[in-house]
């Protein structure tokens, strides 16, 4: 059976895929449906949802359109989640490959650094980094990646350790290939599948971390974020609970969707076998 058919037979994978597709559609269409500044005032403050069809999800404390905020927030979540995961996987794969392929002292040093990063809770690391450098989209991405690259590094190293003993690596040495070319062109691409299998978990965690940072006021102040929306709504939690509930539900659905779809892909492409 081909992987696509197998994927389509798993209901949770389909649910995840539908959520992801919806999320991408929302993020991509944000400036189409809501071309203006989502932080602009659109109507009376604290309008409840489903009252005014030009503002279907109502307005927040400052009279901003909640639906517009939600759409633009989806964009931030997705951008930060994907960028942070990509950065974490790239850094992890490079560090893991260098450590595993070079061995010896280089391996020792790189793995002690990995240990050090792994000991610090990744959210504290992100918090400290953003507090020191200052909140902007790039810094938030870097901060999240900082706590997420160690998993990919370990998996990549383990995979490289077994690949480097294979004949084709000896063959590359025999034709005189430079060790760096062997590491990054011959070994690394073959070590990637189990590393990429981690991506759904990393993306999901990155989206949550971004939300938590924004909730604490450490997100990019110029971007709409779901975490920021929840924090905003907290002030009027009793009078207008929907202001916290709507972005909260969006966040949970997104994380769930990313996770389910990612697991579905991993399951059906059977890269799991190389994960122990």
């Amino acid at each position: 059976m081909n992987p696509l058919r197998r994927f389509l037979r798993a209901p949770e994978a389909i649910a995840g895929a539908i959520i992801l597709v919806a999320l991408f559609a929302i993020a991509l269409s944000a400036s189409l449906f809501f071309p203006g500044d989502p932080q602009a005032i659109a109507g009376p403050a604290l309008l409840p949802p489903f009252q005014d069809w030009s503002l279907p999800l109502g307005t927040d404390r400052l009279g901003r359109d909640v639906l517009a905020e939600l759409f633009h927030g989806a964009r931030t979540s997705l951008v930060v989640g994907l960028a942070a995961a990509a950065a974490a996987i790239a850094v992890g794969a490079i560090v893991g490959t260098l450590a595993g392929f070079t061995g010896g002292l280089v391996d020792e040093v790189l793995m002690r650094i990995t240990d050090a990063f792994q000991t610090v809770p990744s959210f504290l690391l992100a918090l400290a980094f953003v507090s020191v450098v200052g909140p902007s989209l790039g810094v938030v991405v870097a901060a999240i990646a900082l706590g997420a690259w160690t998993g990919p590094a370990r998996v990549a190293r383990a995979e490289v350790l077994s690949i480097r003993e294979r004949d084709f690596v000896a063959g590359a040495r025999v034709i005189g290939m430079h060790p760096l070319e062997i590491a990054f062109r011959e070994v690394l691409p073959n070590a990637l599948p189990p590393v990429l299998a981690l991506s759904s978990v990393i993306v999901a965690a990155a989206i949550l971390t971004e939300a938590a940072l924004s909730f604490l006021g450490l997100g990019d102040p110029n971007r709409m974020t779901w975490g920021g929306m929840i924090a905003e709504g907290r002030a009027v939690l009793r009078a207008a609970p929907f202001l916290s509930i709507i972005p909260g539900v969006a966040l949970v659905l997104t994380v769930l969707g990313v996770y389910l779809a990612g697991e579905g892909v991993v399951e059906t492409t059977a890269v799991r076998r190389s994960l122990s």
């Binding site: 084709f168 000896a170 063959g171 025999v174 034709i175 005189g176 290939m177 430079h178 011959e186």
Partner: protein
């Protein structure tokens, strides 16, 4: 007396197993002349592959000297070693494992040409086609993935890759053992043709005495990492002196004399 192409002396490699060290290769010496085929035979675990890996500098020896083309091969390192590798190539037993599973035929042949600056980027496709032709394959194969061709074709690709850099010596570790009989005969013929036309020397590792007497001029028989006996391939296989040599000959399926005209005859 001319100097040998390869002179190995006192080569030793120890492995630690369960606390004590065991010599996988123990004080082994032999020479290979230009254009000659030297066979390395011996039971499983006698150190044949270890010698191949030592010669190719895939692992480092504990003692001994390797002189290749008149220079100390063991003292080379880094860029000097990589450059020298053009002259000393290897063909592995399992041609599927010997190539990057993601590679195409073209890339596998392009790499040595690029690395050793043998042809410019624009010349290389033509050189690749010529190499494919040299090993009896169609140039159309270049675009195929390595896993999309047959085992025999793959071993021809391995040979094409080995001769791409115009080596003077190719180490073949059980290079025909995984092939079925008819394909094996064709590959052996290809090796003999290449040797005749380009004067390439082979270190031919095999446990098949029939194949050895068909292709090799001389043979070295190993036992537990040591040289048990060596000499003219037909003479040694016809009348082995060492116990291990006798055991190998007895264990071998009967040697078909007609299909294995000794390489010694070709000299």
């Amino acid at each position: 007396m001319s100097r040998p192409l390869l002179a190995v002396s006192g080569l030793t490699k120890r492995y630690r197993r369960g606390g004590k060290s065991i010599a996988a290769v123990d004080d082994v010496s032999f020479d290979i002349e230009p254009g000659e085929t030297l066979a390395l035979a011996g039971p499983s675990g006698s150190g044949k592959s270890t010698i191949a890996r030592l010669l190719l500098r895939l692992i480092e020896s504990d003692a001994g000297r390797i002189e290749f083309e008149g220079g100390d091969f063991l003292s080379l390192s880094g860029a000097a070693l990589r450059a020298r590798r053009a002259r000393l190539q290897m063909v592995f037993q399992d041609p599927l494992a010997a190539f990057n599973p993601r590679a195409t035929v073209a890339r596998v042949l392009d790499d040595p040409l690029r690395i050793h600056g043998i042809a410019t980027r624009s010349e290389r496709p033509r050189r690749i086609a010529a190499l494919l032709d040299r090993v009896g394959l169609s140039a159309d194969l270049a675009g195929r993935a390595i896993h999309e061709i047959s085992g025999g074709q793959r071993q021809r690709i391995a040979i094409a890759r080995a001769i791409a850099t115009k080596p003077s010596l190719i180490v073949l570790d059980e290079a025909v053992s995984a092939l079925d009989v008819s394909v094996r005969r064709q590959i052996l013929q290809l090796l003999l043709d290449l040797q005749r036309e380009e004067r390439i020397a082979y270190l031919f590792i095999s446990h098949d005495l029939g194949v050895i007497s068909a292709i090799a001029h001389r043979v070295v028989i190993l036992d537990a990492g040591r040289v048990a006996e060596s000499g003219n391939a037909r003479a040694v296989i016809g009348a082995p002196q060492s116990t291990i040599g006798k055991a190998l000959v007895t264990a071998a399926p009967k040697l078909n004399r007609t299909s294995t005209q000794g390489a010694a005859d070709r000299q």
